[in-house]
């Protein structure tokens, strides 16, 4: 049981913080996911596009060695 709780609090949806085992924010997040899925079942327009630029995040190559020169 402890293990399960630990897993839920820190591994699943790790970006939603759980302080002192207050799972409310996390559950609201899960509920939101549920809502989005159910909506998408009936309204396929709401399904996200993986290739859409709004769903992207642009990252630089952090290592300076990988900065490519074309000259």
């Amino acid at each position: 049981m402890e293990e399960a709780r630990e897993l839920l609090s820190s591994v699943i949806l790790a970006h939603v913080p759980v302080t002192a085992f207050n799972f409310r924010p996390k559950y609201i997040y899960i509920a939101l996911m549920i809502r989005r899925v159910i909506t998408a079942m009936y309204e396929p327009v709401t399904i996200d596009d993986r290739d859409y630029y709004g769903n992207k995040r642009l990252e630089l190559c952090v290592l300076s060695g990988r900065l490519v020169s074309d000259g």
């Binding site: 799972f23 559950y27 996911m33 549920i34 769903n55 900065l67």
Partner: protein, 265 residues
């Protein structure tokens, strides 16, 4: 710092920064083609790169799918699911919410088996021992999702008879019905364990819902208002989560429960 003394001085060179060609700070900015040719530069050169120690340098960007964002998509089996790649400074993980046979499960690398969502929603309340009864907690969350409220009952799994009466046998919605209603009738099926009894059409919202669900909860609020005017005029003034108010709510919920369990059988 000199010893314990903080020393501040201005106009000290701390390094040099490359300037992107053709940017607003570049010498070529705003020049006409002729002027650029006169400077021995190519007028159709697009710029956007840097020159460092006489070498052209380009910064490459990588496209990645956003983290910490709910992406709803259709999987290989044609089922709708949501996935979130959570990332914090110390941990990265991907959580999936998948639907199997119209039911929702949580899927994660560390879990050998998929867990029904409702179980996940219920576990910690049970473990913590404090807080509202489990089914109520689940109810609140479902309400936060703006779809249904689950009837309040202390031990929905108490007897097999209860369980049987709780199983869902509502009509399958036709495609003509409005979206919200269709969602509402999908939810009881989506939550797997039969021990949780679901009430259709009963909505509840919390005064202090966080902004992210506020818009969703509001949808429920309008419905509740409608309902309370038809069902129980006395409790229509119910403002939020006061004790007195919730008692009235409970009464109302239980009367709904009775009416809908009839329809269930």
């Amino acid at each position: 710092m000199r010893g314990k003394q903080v020393v501040s001085c201005k106009n000290v060179c701390i390094g040099r920064m490359p300037i992107m060609l053709r940017s607003s700070h570049c010498v070529l900015a705003g020049k006409s083609d002729e002027a650029i040719v006169k400077m021995n530069e190519c007028p159709i050169d697009p710029g956007g790169y840097f020159v460092v120690k006489g070498v052209e340098k380009v910064i490459l960007v990588q496209e990645q799918l956003s983290k910490n964002r709910i992406i709803v998509e259709v999987d290989r089996k044609g089922q709708v699911g949501a996935s979130v790649t959570s990332s914090t400074h110390e941990r990265k993980s991907k959580t999936n919410l998948i639907s199997k046979g119209g039911r929702l499960y949580i899927k994660h690398n560390t879990l050998s088996e998929d867990i029904p969502v409702v179980i996940v929603l219920k576990v910690p309340c049970a473990a913590a021992g404090a807080g509202p009864p489990r089914s109520r907690a689940v109810a609140k969350l479902a309400a936060a999702a703006g779809t249904v409220r689950i009837a309040r009952s202390r031990r929905p799994w108490a007897s097999s008879r209860t369980r049987r009466s709780c199983s869902w046998s509502g009509p399958t919605p036709s495609s003509g019905t409005p979206l919200r209603r269709r969602c509402r009738s999908a939810l009881p099926r989506a939550f797997t364990p039969r021990c949780v009894r679901l009430e259709r059409d009963v909505f509840r919202t919390r005064k202090h819902s966080p902004p992210c669900v506020y818009g969703l909860a509001r949808e429920g609020a309008t419905c509740r208002r409608k309902r309370s005017s038809t069902l129980a005029p006395a409790s229509a003034s119910r403002a939020g989560c006061g004790r007195r108010a919730s008692r009235a709510w409970r009464r109302r919920a239980s009367c709904c429960r009775r009416s809908s369990s009839r329809t269930c059988r």
